[in-house]
Symmetry: C2
Subunit: 199 residues, 2 copies
């Protein structure tokens, strides 16, 4: 290589970003050093600051700068419902619906035995501790409808059985605005199986 060693070190360091291989890392490094030194400096600082300040909320496990995050601290939420999601991005999607007014627990992942992520790596004992606060009466499982998300929901469901809690799962079915002709057969099959009485 004809790169100076600090440049090689930067290219190597950029590969910690998910989805960034050697070619993109090189392209990114050249771009930053040539066209956006200001952005690179900002990124360096933002990384250091976030590392120093961001931690997990003691209650919901999401990212926060405090011991307990703003949402968990807010007195206006329904403390009797706890929604379990995989990632903070899912929490944000739930909030955008403006329908759900309960609390959250963010798994920060999903069960994925192939990647070595089991119940221990997900720290499910923290979820168990969380639901035993005396206020939670319903756990709404809102993990993804992927194979891994489904397995995670199933596992947590089994875990919470017999604790006097209502355990629910968000509904599967034809998307709002969806046309049957363009819905995949698996989704439509589920929508039939999970059909409900007209109210």
């Amino acid at each position: 290589m004809n790169n100076p060693s600090t440049l090689d070190a930067l290219i190597e360091a950029l590969r910690c970003l998910p989805g960034v291989g050697p070619k993109s890392a090189q392209r990114m490094a050249y771009h930053l050093l040539q066209y956006d030194r200001e952005g690179a400096a900002r990124l360096s600082t933002a990384l250091a600051t976030a590392l120093a300040q961001v931690r997990h909320c003691r209650l919901c496990n999401s990212f926060t700068e405090d011991e307990v995050c703003r949402l968990c601290r807010s007195g206006t939420r329904d403390a009797s419902t706890l929604c379990v999601v995989e990632m903070p991005a899912d929490l944000m999607m739930m909030e955008q619906t403006q329908i759900y007014r309960g609390m959250y627990f963010v798994l920060m992942g999903r069960l994925s035995p192939l990647d070595g992520v089991g119940p221990r790596e997900l720290h499910l004992e923290r979820l168990l501790k969380r639901v035993e606060d005396g206020q939670v009466r319903e756990v709404l499982l809102a993990t993804n409808f992927t194979a891994e998300g489904e397995a995670t929901a199933h596992y947590i469901g089994e875990l919470l059985k017999g604790r006097g809690l209502r355990v629910t799962r968000i509904a599967r079915g034809v998307p709002v605005g969806g046309e049957l002709e363009y819905t995949d057969a698996g989704t439509l099959a589920q929508a039939i199986l999970e059909r409900r009485e007209l109210s």
Copy 2:
């Protein structure tokens, strides 16, 4: 947004990377904070170090930590030939051929009027100064065979005319190992136009 502000700042800062939009930036930030804090710390340091130490070689304009880079300092290269490439990655490809033994000039870009990159932004005056060192006798244009790379080669060719220099362009044609049946017509047309005598 329910993200703490330092996390939002990190997501925003990651968008300085080329090809990274809001969704990937969010995914990257979550990944780093959750699974790779060590990598993030390394990246933060690598960015700061590279910004502090990497600059442009006074002779070839490529990235280096010194005033003149290792290749330009090496006494073993042929100082009479100067190869003009767009980016350091192109220089590395040229070196990998082990055929070229001359010097380089790295444009750090290409003429691209639509992106606001003209002769002034490319600092072509530095190239002009470089070829007047009394040693360079041939300038080999090795910009890409894209529309912009071709325009850049043409522009530099015109610029260097009448200075008593030999100005050459790397050959276009059917790739080594290429089969005519699977070569695109444009490439084959050029290979015909640029045919040469069998030696």
